[in-house]
C-alpha cells in the first residue's frame, strides 16, 4: 500500500506547506515550532501513525490551536489519516529558531525580523531595528506590543512608514 511507505522526510516536506495563520508567509518550519516527526507502523494497522511534536510560540497565543489543526488538515489532504499532534513546552520556543529563510520571508513581507539573540541581555535594551522597506537604521519604537503577541510597532524616520517588528523572544 502506498500509505505504508511514508517517510519522515515526506512529512517534513508536507509541513513546509503549512503556514502560520498570523504571518501567512511563514511555514511552521520557518518558525521553528515543529520539534520532531515520527512515523510508526504496527503490523496489524493498515496506515502509519504520524506524530508531529510542536511547541507554542507564545503562552497565550490563540494561533497555537489553529496551527495544530492546520497541520492535521495538511497531512490529511496528503492522504495521511492518522495524525497525532503533541505539544511540548520544554525547551521553550525562541525566535532564534526562526530559520534564515524565515527571516528573509518576514522582511520581504514588510515585518522586520528579530534583531540579536533572545538570550542576550541586550534584547530588552534599545536596539536598532532596520526598516524592512527602505533599510534605514533611523527608526523608533512606537509601541512594545503590536497587532499580535509576537510583534512590536516601529516607525521609520526616513520613509515615515510604520512597520511591525518580530520581537526577540
Amino acid at each position: 500500500m502506498v500509505t505504508n511507505t511514508i517517510s519522515e522526510a515526506y512529512v517534513w516536506e508536507l509541513l513546509a506547506q503549512v503556514n502560520d495563520p498570523e504571518v501567512p508567509v511563514l511555514s511552521v518550519l520557518d518558525l521553528g515550532i515543529v520539534r520532531a516527526v515520527t512515523v510508526s507502523l504496527t503490523a496489524n494497522e493498515n496506515a502509519p501513525q504520524v506524530t508531529v511534536t510542536i511547541t507554542p510560540t507564545y503562552t497565550g497565543c490563540p494561533a497555537t490551536d489553529l496551527i495544530a489543526m492546520n497541520i492535521r488538515l495538511g497531512l490529511l489532504q496528503a492522504g495521511i489519516p492518522k495524525v497525532n499532534i503533541q505539544t511540548v513546552l520544554s525547551p521553550a520556543w525562541t525566535t532564534d529558531w526562526i530559520t534564515p529563510e524565515g527571516a528573509a520571508k518576514l522582511k520581504a513581507y514588510g515585518i522586520a525580523p528579530p534583531v540579536g539573540k533572545s538570550l542576550d541581555n541586550a534584547y530588552l535594551e534599545d536596539i536598532t531595528v532596520p526598516c524592512p522597506r527602505c533599510g534605514s537604521n533611523d527608526t523608533q519604537l512606537l509601541s512594545a506590543f503590536g497587532s499580535t503577541a509576537c510583534k512590536a510597532l516601529y516607525q521609520c524616520s526616513d520613509c515615515k512608514e510604520p512597520f511591525d517588528y518580530f520581537k526577540c523572544h
Binding site: P56, Y58, T59, G60, C61, P62, V88, L89, S90, P91, A92, W93, T94, S118, L124, L142, S143, A144, F145, G146, S147, T148, A149, L153, K167, H169
Partner: protein, 257 residues
C-alpha cells in the same frame, strides 16, 4: 525525595495568572490609546495562557489522586483546566489580594502590574531551574513574557511619576492604595520551593530604582499588610470577577462553542 508541586501550589500560581489576566482584559476596548489597548490585551493573553498551563498541570495531579471528590470535575469525572477555572467558588481561589483589586485609573493599573510582574519575574527565574521538568518548562516560557511586562509597566510608572502634577499625584495615590497588599508576596504560605529572602531584597531594590526615577519616596516593606488570598479569604471584588467570568458555565453547564 525530589520536589513534587502540590495541587495547592499549582492552583495558586494559576489563580494569580488568571485573575490578573482577567483584570487586564477588562481594559480591552477601553485603553487610553489604541497602542496601549493592544498592549494590555496582549499582556492579558500572556497571563491567561500561563494560567492554562498551570491549571493543566494541577488537573493532571488531581486526576492521579485516589480521591478527587474535593475538586470540581467534568461529566467524565476528570478535573480539567476549565473545571478548575470555572467551577470553583471564591473561597477556593488562592490568588494574592493585590491582583483582584479593581483596575482603578491608569496609575493603579500600571503600578499594580509593575509590583506584580517584578515579583513574578523573580519567582519564575527561580522556578525555571526547578528539578520538576513541567514546573521548570512553564516557568521558563512565562519568564520571557513577564520580562516584557516589567519593562512596559516600568516605563509607564516612570512616565506618570515624571509627568504632570496630576499624573504624579495619581501615581502617589496608587502607591498608597496598593502598597499595603505587597506583604502577601513574602509570606510564602504555600511553601513554594523558592528563596524568599533573596527575592524580597531584589524586588525592593528594583521597585525603588523605578520609584527614584518617578520622584516617589523610597518604598519600605510594610510592618502590617493585607492578607488572606492564598487561604481563600478574599476581598469583595473577587466575587464580582467570578460572577462575570463563570456565568456561562454556571448557567449552562458544559456549554461549548
Amino acid at each position: 525525595m525530589s520536589y513534587q508541586p502540590t495541587v495547592s501550589q499549582l492552583i495558586h500560581l494559576a489563580d494569580n495568572a488568571l485573575i490578573l489576566g482577567h483584570r487586564l482584559s477588562e481594559w480591552c476596548g477601553h485603553g487610553p490609546a489604541l497602542e496601549q489597548d493592544i498592549a494590555l490585551s496582549n499582556i492579558a493573553l500572556d497571563y491567561v495562557g500561563a494560567a492554562r498551563n498551570w491549571y493543566q498541570l494541577a488537573a493532571n495531579q488531581i486526576n492521579s489522586l485516589q480521591d478527587k471528590a474535593a475538586f470540581p470535575l467534568n461529566a467524565q469525572g476528570e478535573a480539567t483546566e476549565d473545571t478548575l477555572a470555572y467551577l470553583r467558588d471564591a473561597f477556593d481561589f488562592k490568588n494574592f489580594l493585590l491582583l483582584e483589586l479593581p483596575n482603578g485609573d491608569w496609575a493603579v493599573t500600571t503600578l499594580r502590574l509593575l509590583l506584580s510582574a517584578s515579583y513574578q519575574q523573580l519567582l519564575l527565574q527561580q522556578l525555571s531551574t526547578n528539578e520538576h521538568a513541567d514546573v521548570a518548562a512553564i516557568a521558563a516560557k512565562s519568564l520571557k513574557e513577564v520580562t516584557y511586562h516589567v519593562r512596559w509597566s516600568e516605563d509607564w510608572v516612570k512616565r506618570l511619576g515624571d509627568g504632570t502634577d496630576e499624573s504624579h499625584q495619581r501615581l502617589q495615590a496608587a502607591y498608597h492604595e496598593l502598597w499595603p497588599y505587597i506583604g502577601e508576596f513574602w509570606e510564602n504560605k504555600l511553601a513554594l520551593p523558592i528563596d524568599i529572602a533573596s527575592m524580597q531584597a531584589q524586588w525592593l531594590a528594583k521597585i525603588n530604582q523605578v520609584f527614584e526615577a518617578s520622584h516617589l519616596p523610597q518604598g519600605v516593606l510594610p510592618t502590617w499588610h493585607q492578607t488572606g488570598g492564598t487561604e481563600g479569604i478574599h476581598t469583595e471584588h473577587l466575587g464580582y470577577i467570578l460572577a462575570e467570568m463563570q456565568f456561562l458555565q454556571r448557567a449552562y453547564p458544559n456549554a461549548e462553542w
